[in-house]
Amino acid sequence: MTKPLTRRDYLKTAAAAVGGLVVGGAIGYGAYPALNPAAPKKEVQAPTSFVQGGTLYITYRSPVLNLDPHIMTDEASYGAAQNTMDQLVVFEGNTANIIPNLAYAWEISDDGKEYTFHLWKGVKFHDGTELTANDVKFTFERLLAPETKASYYAYFSSIDKIQVIDDYAAKFILKEPNAIMLAALAAPPSVIMNKKRVEELKGDLSSNAFGVGSGPFKFVEWKVNDHLTMEANENYWAGRPHLDKIIIKEIPERTTRAVAVQTGEIDIGADIPYDMIEQMKGNKDLVTIDDHKIGAYYMGFNCSQPPFKDNVTLRQALSHGVDYGAVLVQFRGHLARSLGPYGPNLWGYPGDIVGYNFDPDKAKELLAKAGYPKGLDVTMHATDWNIDDGQICAASLAKIGVNVKIIHLDAASLDAACSAGKETQLFMMAWGADIPDPDNVLYTVFESTSPINWVHWKNDKFDELVHRARVITDQGERSGLYTEAFKIVMDEAPAAWLHDPGFSWALSRHIHGFQVGPHYQYLLRGVWKK
């Protein structure tokens, strides 16, 4: 018979453990406010003027992957580049209006092939070098150089050469007119880079981008997957920004981001889950912003393979068979229905559009007409970020006799399957415009030779319209062409459009002046914190 542990021994151990927990908790609780001195304890009056200073903690929905504007392809890197570097022209807030930035004026020749930009004098890069037309020439020659492997190459491939007229004027000479040239120049990767500094770094910006840009904030340090630090550019040509320092903190998990904003560890958080947004509505210290982009999430039909090949009626039938209302429920009102490839938030949108409504009876009628009176079996390829939409579509289609088998892949595999177009029938996809121009939605996604025409749809009249709209510069004329093209793609229904792309931001009430651009890039130039 073993002698058990005495009660005394046991109680001593337990007391020590509990004591330890209590002491640890007390330390934690007491020390916590010191961690985040900016977390306010009292009511704050609305400021009557800007407040200088302070550090902003911001977190985006994905980590910064790259510091080189020419190579970066992800939204987070765009955000970092946008605040440390400048483009020739920019978009006004979240609109498609183009306004001067480094270039205070520009002229476009009558034939649309020559763009001359006039630069402000005395703009300095962060290492003190002056920004001149030579830097503009260098930047775009580097973008177009094959060794750079620039992601925006296709948007600028129409450039023949760049001429330096004098130190403060640069002329872009194009091979043919390109209506989206200005918009492309306002995009995040089109920032002007410091020739001297890039050459010093031997073209390798992978770990250090200091001095490459002229933007409102200077690059300080980047710890991959952890944080990126920027500080105010005292000599910014448009005036010193209000904030002293910005720290982009990487938090990959949505729930954690939401918690971090609520505890005050982070001032601005992107992509907060919608149910937590509802919770936050009661919190007086937080503000939420809904961010919408141009484009749409859609359920695509592979138009190069049966059953959807050459069968417009079938596609229209399924377009009527999706319960769009049910799809929208998950967004709790934060995202709206998209009737077509983009919504009324961009010009060229036909005002008289009707779209496909959820009408199971009409759907069944069209199914019969299309040759499938008893319904049919189809597959649907989807991935994590669109599987929810996919499941809801599949559920409503089941009710009209279309049995959908969902194939859940990872994102890269989905891209590969859609691109190949051999096995896909239905698939879930989305496109948000890189450049807020109808060309970037209609041409880019639906032109028959476009690499991301994953619906593999071809319509000659549509192609003709979007090709023509690319080379003329008069917006009114282009708008007419796009409206016509839009209607064609709606009639032929190569996809069932669901909702616009977007997510919600949560920010502390003490952040003012926060704006987001059309590429999801956050604009911190005008932000102040009080």
Binding site: Y152, E253, A416
Partner: protein
């Protein structure tokens, strides 16, 4: 002894070679094109895609690509990440420190929970305490670390504000640094703790029923001495195996905890690398994990020698 260690270290080489070949083949056979992922969905022309593919030598036959990688790897050059264009070795080393810290603290928490729980359970077998601790064990195994992590954040970071919800501090030995360690270590340690606890309990129970324990008692030794000096040391041998496996699991399984708590570790790096088909980075991280595993096993085997004098290595 030294000969034994040398033999074991040399044996690591074919293992790593084999793993690198398997990883290489697996990567190339899953669908998904790293070039397209790298260049983004932007309207890239086929011409640009082919050009980049050629530059990255991805259009060469597989065996050439592998041997080219091996040639550079043997010189210490693991290539550059496709998506970040940074040297793989640098990225792995940079992220490893964080993962190691998390795994070690997770192991510490694991031991702190498992050992007392297991010992008390064994000593007071079938008592109320035993049942309670077995319930806790079951909870620990059933609750996934993801769930535990999020719940801990909601309770201790959001409602109680005792600990930060995320992030890792650069200074480990400061109040700040230690506070960032608490929740993630606990989330990670809790589920593995229970495995170890059950193992400790099982082996202790077995050992406590041995004859030499009865002898020790009849000699009049104090119970505490019996438990710690005699029983525990013998029970530790199988438990050491489990600890070794646990460390391996913690090193690899920390990816979820790293993601939730925003710790820039190897797990997070690996997941992103696989999703983006970043071949050089995947290859580098897997190689590194393999190395860690094999070295950990070697250390565990050596610890046996210390624990059990009957085991001698030649």
């Amino acid at each position: 002894m030294l000969r034994y260690i040398a033999k074991r270290v040399l044996a690591v080489i074919p293992v790593l070679l084999g793993i690198s070949i398997i990883t290489f083949l697996l990567m190339h056979f899953i669908p998904g094109d790293p070039v397209r992922v790298m260049l983004g969905k932007q309207a890239i022309t086929e011409e640009v895609i082919e050009r980049v593919r050629h530059e990255l030598r991805l259009d060469q036959p597989l065996y050439l690509q592998y041997f080219s990688w091996l040639y550079y790897a043997l010189q210490g050059n693991l290539g550059r990440s496709f998506q970040m264009n940074m040297p793989v070795l640098y990225l792995v080393a940079d992220h490893f420190a964080v993962t190691l810290r998390l795994a070690l603290f997770g192991l510490l928490v694991s031991m702190l929970i498992a050992m007392p729980l297991g010992i008390v359970s064994a000593v007071k077998k079938d008592s109320a305490i035993d049942y309670v601790s077995r319930v806790i064990s079951t909870l620990g195994i059933s609750l996934p670390p993801f769930f535990t992590g999020i719940v801990l954040i909601l309770i201790f970071a959001l409602y109680l504000r005792w600990f930060p919800s995320m992030g890792v501090s650069t200074e480990l030995f400061s109040i700040d640094g230690l506070r960032t360690m608490v929740l993630p270590s606990f989330a990670l340690g809790f589920s593995s703790a229970t495995m170890v606890a059950r193992m400790v309990r099982a082996t202790m129970v077995e050992v406590l029923e041995q004859d030499y324990i009865r002898t020790a008692r009849s000699k009049g030794l104090k119970e505490r001495v019996i438990i710690y000096r005699h029983a525990l040391k013998n029970a530790m041998i199988p438990v050491t195996t489990v600890i070794g496996m646990t460390l391996g699991y913690l090193l690899g399984g920390s990816v979820i905890i790293e993601t939730i708590f925003a710790w820039p570790g190897l797990g997070m790096l690996m997941v992103n690398a696989v999703m983006k088909r970043d071949y050089p980075l995947i290859q580098g991280i897997v190689l590194f994990f393999a190395l860690m595993f094999t070295l950990t096993n070697l250390v565990i085997d050596l610890i046996y020698g210390f624990l059990d004098p009957r085991i001698r290595y030649r």
